[in-house]
Symmetry: C2
Subunit: 508 residues, 2 copies
Amino acid sequence: MQDAQQQRIRLPELRNRITSAEHAASWIEDGMTIGMSGFTRAGDAKVVPLAIAERARAEQLKITLMTGASLGSDIDKTLTEAGAMSRRMPFQADPTLRAAINRGEVMYVDQHLSETVEQLRTRQINAIDIAIIEAVAITETGAIIPTTSVGNSASFAILADQVIVEINMTQSMELEGLHDIFIPKHRPQREPIPLMSAHDRIGTTAIMIPPEKIVAIVITQKEDSASTILPPDAETAQIAAHLVDFFKEEVRDGRLTNHLMPMQAGIGTIANAVMSGFIDSPFEHLTMYSEVLQDSTFDLFDAGKLDFASGSSITLSAEKSKAVLSDIGKYKDRLVLRPQEVSNHPEVIRRLGIIAINTALEVDIYGNVNSTHVLGTHMMNGIGGSGDFARNAYLSVFATKSTAKHGKISSIVPMVTHVDHSEHDVDIIVTEVGLADLRGLAPRERAQKIIHHCVPAPYRQMLLDYLSEAETRGGQTPHVLEKAFSWHTRYRETGSMLEETAVLKAVA
Amino acid sequence: MQDAQQQRIRLPELRNRITSAEHAASWIEDGMTIGMSGFTRAGDAKVVPLAIAERARAEQLKITLMTGASLGSDIDKTLTEAGAMSRRMPFQADPTLRAAINRGEVMYVDQHLSETVEQLRTRQINAIDIAIIEAVAITETGAIIPTTSVGNSASFAILADQVIVEINMTQSMELEGLHDIFIPKHRPQREPIPLMSAHDRIGTTAIMIPPEKIVAIVITQKEDSASTILPPDAETAQIAAHLVDFFKEEVRDGRLTNHLMPMQAGIGTIANAVMSGFIDSPFEHLTMYSEVLQDSTFDLFDAGKLDFASGSSITLSAEKSKAVLSDIGKYKDRLVLRPQEVSNHPEVIRRLGIIAINTALEVDIYGNVNSTHVLGTHMMNGIGGSGDFARNAYLSVFATKSTAKHGKISSIVPMVTHVDHSEHDVDIIVTEVGLADLRGLAPRERAQKIIHHCVPAPYRQMLLDYLSEAETRGGQTPHVLEKAFSWHTRYRETGSMLEETAVLKAVA
């Protein structure tokens, strides 16, 4: 064990910083801003955060918590329950924290994932006091080798006054060399990000910081929390099939080659299912330039469809995790993990010409997308990287099942109750019903396409009726304002968006 | 005259292409897509479009018209009245065309200004059949020297099958050398845009095309339409003063230097007034990296405040135009005009760290911005470049007067009826009442700041009442959906957003 630790902490002078999670947590003071590793449940610091929660149960200890994205290991839950969480950014996906956010108890700053460290670097938001970073190892020079995510870890460690490192002994040493840490310079010295292809390496394999900033090292044995995504079902398979058909047409029409363009897929069941749909497609030599690499990424590798995948984290199901992480060497020359500032950078996304596939919570007839707010008010997770990608993509796709709650909610509504992506940033809407190609269309034309291609009965007719009435009032984007949210208020009152007449027809 | 024309058409073999506007217009066929020069009334083709309209009065001739941005010379008006306009993109600002758009007669595709040529280049929208470009001159090699705007002219000319050039004899030959034409390569050969500072020159001074593509040359004598912006008034001066105070604090706090960062200012009266506010400010050696350069740009030059201005067009009032354009040599080493794809490119905006100042039509309590749609339905002008800048800026400012129509419309409402810029892209809201700094705040905090800093009585109390009721329903972004647009429906019914009780109080 002592030997194993020495292999993991290669700078001898740092070995005396090894301490308990409880002692490491004693560095945190009330009111501090803490930057933690972790992106979509991958590579999060796992024991010091829980020790902070433990302290917060006994004393006044409230922190602002910044991460890469969502955490696993019940960290958001435990910190929230302990009353330690006063402010959270830029993303979360925990039910307990979500409830506290929606009660107004935790101030949640939902941000584009590429932006947080830009705002930190320019001191436009509170500075990071302490960074807590999970690592595979610390190098001979004191540089930190991250585990299964990079996220914002590099900039957090660089910008923080002090750094606590969690060395995770369960993470394979083979992960070393997987990461590519590139940090843009401060302006006005900022130069182009020299990344011309998903597989380019432009940085270092570890996070370079002065080793004296590392104030504590904690040894851990806890694995990443497994992904919670569901396997593809009939509807997600239909969504994938519609998209594959669309891309076949694009290739036939000469707009894309059989390799398509580098692809991004959002986190979650639908995006994962869509990517799985490419396994049995005619496309080959695919590449991914994405945020989170999910099960489907490795299925595509194994199917010989995918040449390279760039991401900011690897988040897998329990089963896939065993197969992949224990044998990561097999994939290592086809993988790179980057800071989310680089994986999600508008500059790179625009240059590479990404096909961005993200999930919508709600879409309206003009193609505006709500990714975040249930009924316009209650936060689900957050915008994540969808805005970074959708705005700058070669092609911006939003996928959703056409209904939810056994048909009582239509995902396509007259007007979305919250806009994360305006119609300007949405090229394709796809549901299990079909696909609407909105490129080059005006709003009234978009409405016809979306309603006829993506919406099932009886909602289709309800939307056509709404549109007809709206058009009598005129406008570039016709609406009947006093009825625009009537579906949502009806759902709130009756438990269904369906009109009574539509329900009767459906029953008859 | 013949000599003057020879100076302007330096490739002798092109001189026999000189023809009348009527004859040039005969190249246009029904159903064609035409790309015309012109950006914010500057540098538009002025006589061939009117000849197209003339033809359309006598025969079936409908076109899709793409430009840089808005046109002058009543071109949009005349083409609309003649029934020649079937589809228009990516921006317009003409009352007659606007009315036709809002009646659903013209399909208007309102786009981010940086995107149109990306979509053309990848053939995701209809190809340009003929480009009609205003020029100062044609060079010895047949390259086109634009006049007062670059806009999309270069890519239109490069991508079109045929090009018609209007040589404008009233535009000074001194404009030669002002332009910097850089065209990104097709993907996957795309490289970084090598622009590291607003003053960098990275391209050619003329649009390089095979001269045989030039099928007609028309000689014109019409000047650009003058800018229609109004001079600063008491309220816009207050808006400017609040912003200057804010920047003073940023300098004091060490986040900015006295040179600030490169600035972008949207088109129009408010943005122009805000920039004029910097004349009597303590800031110096300012730079602009913007779209349209307005009167205030040259006032700032003359005041010794501005070192350099990069734009895509120069649009001036009649008076300023005389002074500046007749003596453009005086400013030439401090000016550059670029393709709008470069002036508005996310990559460059993010790299340079732009302070973006744009105008809002309507803002909601959470800082979502409507830039385009009156009462959520009727198009005003279009999103223009505001999305390119706001999303990628170092700091994104939206300015508006707090009320319109003599107080009967509040510019700050419970929920905007159309979202062009989501709260994620809005850092600062400023009205004549004051400035709300929203950086690092959650929606509930943003609402308090906006209501207390930007809204006058009696709307302030009305918004606080709405927010209180909304908060009882909970959520990250509390709303009362059935009342969210009640101010708009009240305006529609009564001609005022004020509640009767508020009106009575105001009268008492």
